[in-house]
Subunit: 208 residues, 2 copies
């Protein structure tokens, strides 16, 4: 492997979970090998691009045969660090938070939302998919206790920075924010934005 | 301008709405000019990157002064085609659909969700932000009637392709899908994916 975290572009890292999902589907259907052409056709990607992406991490494919599905799944899981337990906390149990909690079933066994927090007294104590919504005051202690490494922020933009500060203070190493706000964190903490408005606005660009 | 839709990378197109949001914030606060350094500091981007992004579209900045905020907003809106009316339809009025409907307030006046559809009899007829949820059977006619150009899909993965087919058939030109499924559409229709699971899995990669 010629891999270091620094060298691999974000675009490649973002495609790996897409490969993983389709490969898992193939495995479930009993498919043992897949070619980059098959992957490309199904995922609407250039096969050469796929081969290049996967070559970053080692020499997985066999000429004329393709990739061993099970082996490739294992490798991608290792690369994405999904072979270890990763506890996730979600802050903001409104409609969006509820919707995201439902995605727990799509995440793999190792990466799971283990705690929910909200500031509204009417929401605190309710259950979403068997998890009780905790008050914000318990966030810091719970995050430490449950060894939460990833935080999901689904609070209004005006509250996002404060929540991020508290999460990072409690030990969270990576944040996925759905709030329409730029978040500042200390060096070493990774923030990704899942921003509906910018997604939609950038889509407008491609209209004729 | 040296612009054509084809030549500009998706990464640049995705940054433009981010610039737009911050510039709008500046304008609201009465700020008239901004430097690429200021923009970079606030948005955690390299100022040279920002200058390069904006130079794609013309020579906006003035040396030693920076960018005229109002002019730059107007230009980015033109580039993103947000200066025209764009009607958006949302299909799937569950928790996620409800949450996204609430974002209408963050979208600008020209790009708005104008119709909601759902297949559940208990959801049809309810109102979300003053819009009635319509049955799927009305989708095709309503999309044509309202000149909907963008569709948002928030239905389960298994239903996504059928919904996309119907939207495209009715004239939709671009789709933002939150469903965990690959969607196939005819040439010329743009599909973007906002996939929570892949977002979260790619974030795991950056954990130590």
């Amino acid at each position: 492997m010629k891999t270091t975290t620094e060298k691999i572009s974000e675009a490649v890292v973002r495609r790996l979970p897409v490969y993983l999902r389709y490969l898992t589907e193939l495995l479930t259907n009993g498919v043992q090998t897949v070619s980059s052409q098959d992957l490309g056709r199904r995922l609407d990607l250039n096969p050469a691009q796929i081969r290049k992406d996967l070559a970053y991490f080692g020499d997985f494919g066999k000429k004329g045969i393709g990739y061993d599905v099970e082996y490739l799944i294992e490798k991608i899981r290792q690369i994405l660090k999904l072979d270890r337990d990763i506890a996730v906390a979600l802050v903001g149990a409104g409609n969006l938070g509820k919707a995201l909690s439902n995605y727990n079933v799509y995440l793999n066994d190792n990466m799971r939302i283990v705690a929910l927090f909200d500031s509204h007294p009417s929401t605190v104590g309710t259950h979403i998919n068997n998890l009780a919504v905790q008050p914000m005051e318990e966030m810091s202690d719970s995050v430490k206790q449950l060894h939460v490494r990833v935080g999901i922020i689904t609070v209004p933009g005006s509250e996002a920075q404060k929540v991020a500060d508290d999460l990072v203070q409690a030990g969270v190493e990576a944040i996925l924010s759905f709030a329409p706000a730029i978040i500042k964190v200390k060096e070493g903490v990774r923030v990704h934005y899942a921003d509906f408005t910018t997604e939609l606005q950038s889509l407008a660009f491609y209209l004729e």
